[in-house]
Amino acid sequence: MDFKFDIEKNMEKVRCLETFIEKNRQVPGVLIPVLQEAQGLFGYLAREVMEIIARGLDVPVSKVFGVATYYTQFTFMPKGENDISICLGTACYVKGAQEILEEVQNILGIKDGETTPDLKFSITSTRCVGDCSLAPVVLVNDDIYPNVNKKEVKDIIAKYKVEVECYDHL
C-alpha cells in the first residue's frame, strides 16, 4: 500500500521537528533521539521527514536511513488509528499468543505489520511488553488486555470499531 506524505498539511509538526533539531544538534549521538522525536510527531518516518533530519543534522541521508532501518521501533508506514500489538514474548507464546495473533489477522484481514486500507487498524507484534505475569497480553493503543483468550479477541476489536463509528458520525 502506498501512503503519500503531505508536507504542507504537516508544516506545523515539521517546524516542531526543526526546532528540536536546532536545539539539540550539538548533543553527541543525537540522531536516534531525533528519529524518536520525529516518529512521535508524525507517527512514522516518511522519506521526506528523514531528508529533513539529514539536512538539519548535516549528515548524509544514507546515514539516517541506515540507522532508522536498523531499529525495529521505527516504522515507515503510518499506523492505523488503533494499533493492536500482540505480545509474542516467551511467556505469552507458551500461553497461546500465536493463536491470538492469527485470530486478529483473520478478523481484520491484514497481516502482522500491516495497516487496514481505511487506516483504522494496524497489527504490530511485539516481543514482551514487560507484563509477562499477565500473559498472554494484547495492547490496543495504550489499553492493556491481560490473560486474553482467543474467544475474547472479537469483543476487544469490536470496542474500537464502535468508537471509530461514533467518531465518524460527529
Binding site: P28, G29, V30, L31, I32, P33, L35, Q36, G66, V67, Y70, Y71, T72, Q73, F74, C87, L88, G89, T90, A91, Y93, V94, K95, T126, R127, C128, V129, G130, D131, C132, S133, L134, A135
Partner: protein, 526 residues
C-alpha cells in the same frame, strides 16, 4: 542543599510516617526492623534488589529516604575513598545480574585504574529477554535505588556522567525515572556538588529503539553514539575504551540496585545469603504455565523445584510439569528430572542452561519442545545484527531445519546437521547473541531427543502443537450430538445422530473447531 545530618533526620521522620501509612494498608509486616511485604508468596523470598518494590511510592523521594535511601551514597562520599568502595563490592562477590555473571568489583577496578579525564557509567536497562521484567519493576517501583547505585559507581570509578539506556517498550519506566532524576537533583543528591562534597554526577536517559542486540555492551555503546547498534570487534575492554573511546562501566539494573544495600548492610551480611560462588539473591520472572506468576527474589542456590512449587504454587490447572526454560534466547530447557538443581551461576551452567537475566518460563505437557526451540531460533534470526556470518547465516539454516521438523518434512540426518551447525555458530560468532543462540536447540536435543525423533520419524507432535503434524479423531466417548458437524468448515464429519461420528482425514483441514465445541471431549488431538 541537603547535608548528611539532614538526610539522617529526614529518614527518621519519614520512616514513621511511611510505617503508619503501610500498617494502615495492612500490606506489610516488620521483621527485624525491616519492612517486608506480607503473605505466603513472600515468605520464602529475600528481597534486596526488590526491597522497596510495592512498599514505597516511587514518585516520592522522601519515602525512599525513609528506608535508608541515599545513606550509602552519602557515607561513601563523606567517609570512604573510591578504592574502599570497590574493595567492598569485590569483597561481597557481587556478580553481574545482566547475564554473564562477571564480578562487579573487578570490572569497576579496571575502570578505576584507567586514567582519563572523562569516564562513563552506564546502566543497562534494555531488558531484552522476552519473558523477563524484573528490571522494569525496579525502574518503575524503585527508581532511586538505581540512581543511588549509579552515583556510587560513578564515584568509585571516577566518572561524573551516567547514562541509563532504557528499552523503548517501557514508557512508564522512562516517566518514573525522569521524575526521580528531577527530585534527586532538587535534593542535591544528583547533579553538581552532591551533598556539598564537591562530587558531581549527572544522569542522562537514552531510549532504545527495539533491537535486542543493543543489550550487548558494545552494541549499546554504539547505539548511544547514535549509530546502528552493532557489537564491536573486541580489541579493547569497555572498562578501558568504551563510550566515545573512554573508560566505561556498564552494569545491569538489578546489579546496580544491589549496590546501595550491600554498602548499607555490609559485605558479610550479603555473603551469608546465597552460595559461596554466587552470593546474594537473584530476581526471577516466574511465568508461563505456573499457578502464581510474578517476580520472585530468592537466595542463590535455591532448588528449581522450591521456586516453582513452594512459591509459584506449581503448574497451572493441575497439569504435569515438563520443563523450565531459563536464560531466555541464550538459555536452555531444563527437564523435570533435574528440578532439584540449585539455581546459581555454576549449577545451571553445568546442565546446559544459564541464569541469564532471570527469565523462568514454566512449561507443561502441552508445550512442544521442538516448537520452543524453533520459537527461540526465530527470535535470534530476527534479532541477529548480521555483522558476522556464522550467526547471520548459520542461525537461518538452523531455523530452516527446525521448521522442517515441525512441519514433518525433515529426515533423520537433519538432526545431526543441527548439532553440527550449532557447534560452529557457538564457537565462531562475534558476540554473545550468536555464541549462545544454539543453546535452546542443544538443550532440547539433549533432554528431549525422543520428541525430536517422534516428529521426524513418526511425523507426530506429542504435545499437539505443530499444526502440520496434528490429526483429529473421534473416540467412543462420542454421543452423536452433531455439534461438531455444524462447525466443521469442510463438512468432513459424518455419522448418524446419537451414534459415534467419524472424521474424513483427507478433507480435514485441522482447524480445531470440532475439538473446541465437543461437549464430552470425544475428539482427540495428536
Amino acid at each position: 542543599m541537603i547535608t548528611y545530618e539532614k538526610l539522617v533526620q529526614m529518614s527518621l521522620e519519614q520512616r514513621a510516617i511511611l510505617e503508619e501509612r503501610l500498617l494502615k494498608e495492612d500490606k506489610i509486616e516488620i521483621k527485624d526492623g525491616f519492612i517486608v511485604l506480607k503473605g505466603d508468596y513472600y515468605k520464602e523470598q529475600i528481597r534486596i534488589a526488590l526491597k522497596n518494590c510495592g512498599i514505597i511510592d516511587p514518585g516520592n523521594i522522601e519515602e525512599y529516604i525513609a528506608l535508608d535511601g541515599y545513606k550509602s551514597l552519602a557515607r561513601a562520599l563523606i567517609e570512604e575513598t573510591p578504592i574502599k568502595i570497590i574493595e567492598q563490592i569485590s569483597e561481597s562477590n557481587l556478580r553481574g545480574r545482566g547475564g554473564a555473571g562477571f564480578p562487579t568489583g573487578r570490572k569497576w577496578n579496571e575502570a578505576y585504574k584507567t586514567l582519563s579525564d572523562q569516564k562513563y557509567f552506564i546502566c543497562n536497562a534494555d531488558e531484552g529477554d522476552p519473558g523477563a521484567f524484573m528490571d522494569r519493576s525496579i525502574l518503575e517501583n524503585d527508581p532511586h535505588s538505581v540512581l543511588e547505585g549509579m552515583a556510587i559507581g560513578g564515584y568509585a570509578i571516577g566518572s561524573n556522567q551516567g547514562y541509563i539506556y532504557v528499552r523503548a517498550e517501557y514508557p512508564m519506566a522512562v516517566k518514573k525515572l525522569r521524575i526521580a532524576i528531577k527530585q534527586a537533583k532538587e535534593y542535591g543528591l544528583l547533579g553538581d556538588n552532591i551533598l556539598g562534597t564537591g562530587f558531581n554526577f549527572d544522569i542522562e536517559l537514552r531510549l532504545g529503539s527495539g533491537a535486542f542486540v543493543c543489550g550487548e555492551g558494545t552494541a549499546l555503546i554504539e547505539s548511544i553514539e547514535g549509530k546502528r547498534g552493532m557489537p564491536r570487534n573486541k580489541k579493547a575492554r569497555t572498562s578501558h575504551k568504551g563510550l566515545y573511546q573512554q573508560p566505561t562501566i556498564l552494569n545491569n539494573v538489578e546489579t546496580i540496585a544491589c549496590v546501595p544495600v550491600i554498602l548499607q548492610r555490609g559485605t558479610e551480611w550479603f555473603k551469608n545469603i546465597g552460595t559461596e560462588k554466587s552470593t546474594g539473591t537473584k530476581v526471577f520472572a516466574l511465568v508461563g504455565k505456573v499457578e502464581k506468576a510474578g517476580l520472585v527474589e530468592v537466595p542463590m542456590g535455591m532448588p528449581l523445584r522450591n521456586i516453582i512449587n513452594d512459591i509459584g504454587g506449581g503448574v497451572q490447572d493441575g497439569k504435569a510439569l515438563k520443563a523450565v526454560q531459563t536464560g531466555g534466547p541464550s538459555g536452555g530447557c531444563i527437564p523435570v528430572s533435574l528440578m532439584d538443581t540449585p539455581v546459581d551461576f555454576e549449577s545451571l551452567d553445568k546442565i546446559g542452561s544459564i541464569i541469564g537475566s532471570g527469565g523462568m518460563v514454566v512449561m507443561d505437557e502441552n508445550t512442544c519442545m521442538v516448537d520452543i526451540a524453533r520459537f527461540f531460533l526465530e527470535f535470534t534470526v530476527d534479532e541477529s545484527c548480521g555483522k558476522c556470518t556464522p550467526c547471520r547465516v548459520g542461525n537461518k539454516r538452523m531455523l530452516e531445519i527446525l521448521t522442517m521438523i515441525t512441519n514433518g518434512t525433515a529426515e533423520l540426518h537433519h538432526i545431526e546437521d543441527l548439532k553440527e551447525i550449532a557447534e560452529v555458530i557457538a564457537e565462531t560468532s562475534l558476540c554473545g547473541l550468536g555464541q549462545t543462540a544454539p543453546n535452546p536447540v542443544l538443550s532440547t536435543l539433549n533432554y528431549f531427543y525422543d520428541e525430536y525423533l517422534t516428529h521426524v520419524k513418526d511425523k507426530k507432535c506429542p504435545a499437539g502443537v505443530c499444526q502440520a503434524l496434528i490429526t483429529y479423531s473421534i473416540d467412543e466417548k462420542c454421543i452423536g450430538c452433531t455439534k461438531c458437524v455444524k462447525v466443521c468448515p469442510t463438512s468432513c464429519i459424518s455419522g448418524n445422530k446419537k451414534e459415534q461420528h467419524e472424521i474424513d482425514q483427507n478433507l480435514c483441514v485441522v482447524c480445531g473447531a470440532c475439538f473446541e465445541i465437543c461437549p464430552v471431549s470425544a475428539i482427540r488431538k495428536g
